[in-house]
């Protein structure tokens, strides 16, 4: 992870760590904080706890998003302080710049980026104040029907980081459960880092090709990092650590507590193994139960 972040994530980059509640790569986010990246533009539908941590750590210049809450719990308080004008955390003296869409808008931005088109049309935003808050949401007249459609600009990140259940050494990556917008975000990106629970042989990938979401040809680096998505989850591996999501409410509300959290669990450990060593009992509490799929016949 250290090498992948060091080689592929640079100051000033537009960085995407995707995953909708599921498969959010906290391990990569923590390594970016440890390496002290600055002036990042972070994009993601739901900034979640990981971007709240990156904001508090002073890594972020701008946030592009569509729903900035603590899912099922409440607020992201470092984000709120940065937007509501209470600054000063992590040496961050400037206001956080924001660019806001809806989920459909963000998905459409990644779709345009992945297809290497300049924009994506969608039937949306009529009667909403979102285009007023974000002038990059525009309209176009359909050349066939004359209908006015909303448009959003392509999003092409410098680097996209995707957590997944398994990949082979060449980066052919398989995931299951909620798929979010990872495929589009990866194809839209200049560089792609894949982080997996398990490294498998190519024959395992080839035995179930419909499950491959990201092909090795677009992957810059593969990192093996079991439990790398904790406190989010990996279907079939471990459940969401909801206790931590609830605890984040009190931690993030108090800048001093948040600082101590980063000191202890991010700066205070060398890597993911160190982070996990501080939390014995995670596996006993969160390991997934077995619900195997039946499998299919790929023969001809």
């Amino acid at each position: 992870m250290r090498d992948a972040v060091s080689r592929f994530v640079r100051d000033g980059d537009t960085v995407v760590i995707e995953g909708f509640t599921h498969l959010i790569c906290f391990a990569a986010g923590h390594e970016i904080i440890r390496q002290g990246r600055r002036d990042l533009t972070l994009a993601r539908l739901t900034p979640d706890l990981i971007y709240d941590q990156l904001i508090a750590a002073g890594c972020v210049r701008k946030l592009v998003f569509s729903w900035a809450g603590n899912p099922g719990v409440g607020s992201l308080h470092a984000f709120r302080r940065a937007v509501e004008g209470k600054r000063g955390e992590g040496g961050n003296t400037r206001a956080l710049e924001i660019e806001e869409y809806s989920h459909f808008g963000m998905v459409a931005r990644f779709s345009a980026g992945a297809a290497r088109l300049p924009f994506w049309p969608l039937r949306n935003y009529g009667g909403t104040d979102l285009p007023r808050a974000n002038p990059r949401i525009k309209t176009v007249a359909c050349p066939y029907t004359g209908e006015t459609l909303a448009t959003v600009p392509a999003l092409n990140p410098d680097v996209t980081i995707v957590h997944a259940q398994r990949a082979d050494a060449a980066g052919n990556t398989q995931m299951w459960g909620l798929l979010g917008v990872q495929k589009e975000a990866a194809f839209a990106s200049t560089r792609v880092i894949v982080v997996v629970e398990e490294l498998v042989e190519e024959t395992v990938i080839r035995s179930d090709p419909n499950r491959t979401v990201i092909p090795g040809m677009i992957v810059s680096a593969v990192v093996v990092e079991p439990w790398g998505a904790h406190p989010s989850y990996a279907q079939g591996y471990y459940d969401r650590d909801n206790d931590f999501y609830v605890a984040w409410e009190a931690i993030s509300r108090d800048p001093a507590k948040l600082g101590r959290y980063l000191e202890e669990f991010v700066h205070g450990v060398p890597d993911r193994a160190g982070y996990l060593a501080k939390q014995p009992g995670l596996a006993a509490r969160l390991k997934a139960k077995e619900r195997l799929s039946r499998g299919v016949n790929y023969g001809f």
Partner: protein, 253 residues
């Protein structure tokens, strides 16, 4: 309020489920009168049958045993924009006279007094769902004449009707509150008092609404929840009171 909201769902309907109380109401409906309700979550789970109350709309229990799991581009384009969603179910920090919902900011956008989470999928649900239900606790702060920011369009926004704005769905047809039910007037688009909870007067409702509230000539009385509904909610669906306890902002979208 959750029980009253659940009653609005008909068996077999396709529902796009938002986080918080809508999530609970949909799962209550599925456990009672609407076993064939098709729950679609913006996270990509279609036909979800969660074995535990989903903590969020991205809960892994939504995947296990579902009919289909798709990417979010498919959720928004192939299901929602395609017109396949019959009911959209939304909460909101502010709801106004025409059912416009604000989940973005209290105060001016550039310098907000309170920064809320934002749209999530709520803007497009309000645009595309064939009809939308809103669930929100009644109080004057939450029900102003005009919301500070229109995140999700109601029956009329900026003086223009849904037809004039080119919005495909019927928009918010009802607002389920903890005192009574408002419904959109077919002509004016105004949210109009149609039913009261037992023991609540029209004046109680008016005192918690920031505009002169129109009312139907005959106000219905909402049936109280059955013992079975309450037992299901408290013992089976939400025993840890994740949703049923009062909470701050941040649970909408």
């Amino acid at each position: 309020m959750t029980v009253v909201a659940a009653r609005e769902l008909r068996d077999g309907e396709v529902v796009f489920v938002g986080i918080g109380l809508p999530n609970l109401a949909c799962n209550l409906a599925r456990a009672t009168h609407a076993p064939n309700l098709v729950l679609i979550y913006e996270s990509g789970a279609v036909g979800a049958v969660p074995e535990r109350v989903p903590v969020s709309i991205g809960d892994p229990a939504l995947v296990t045993g579902s009919l289909m799991v798709c990417g979010m581009a498919d959720v928004f384009q192939l299901f929602l924009q395609n017109g396949k969603i019959e009911v959209g179910f939304l909460g909101g920090a502010q709801v106004d006279r025409y059912g416009n919902i604000n989940t973005t900011v209290i105060g001016p956008y550039e310098r907000p007094a309170v920064r809320l989470p934002g749209s999530g999928g709520a803007a497009e649900i309000a645009v595309h769902a064939q009809r939308t239900l809103i669930i929100a606790k009644l109080n004057a702060r939450a029900f102003p004449e005009r919301v500070d920011f229109v995140t999700s369009p109601g029956q009329r926004s900026g003086g223009r009707t849904r037809r004039e704005l080119g919005l495909p769905g019927a928009g918010p047809v009802k607002v389920i509150t903890d005192k009574g039910i408002l419904e959109a007037d077919g002509t004016t688009g105004e949210m109009t008092l149609m039913a009261l909870y037992p023991g609540v007067s029209p004046e109680d409702v008016q005192a918690r609404v920031g505009w002169p509230l129109a009312r139907r000539d005959r106000l219905a009385t909402v049936d109280p929840p059955s013992a079975r509904d309450l037992r299901l909610l408290r013992e089976v669906l939400d025993p840890k009171m994740l949703y049923l306890k009062p909470k701050g902002d941040g649970k909408t979208a």
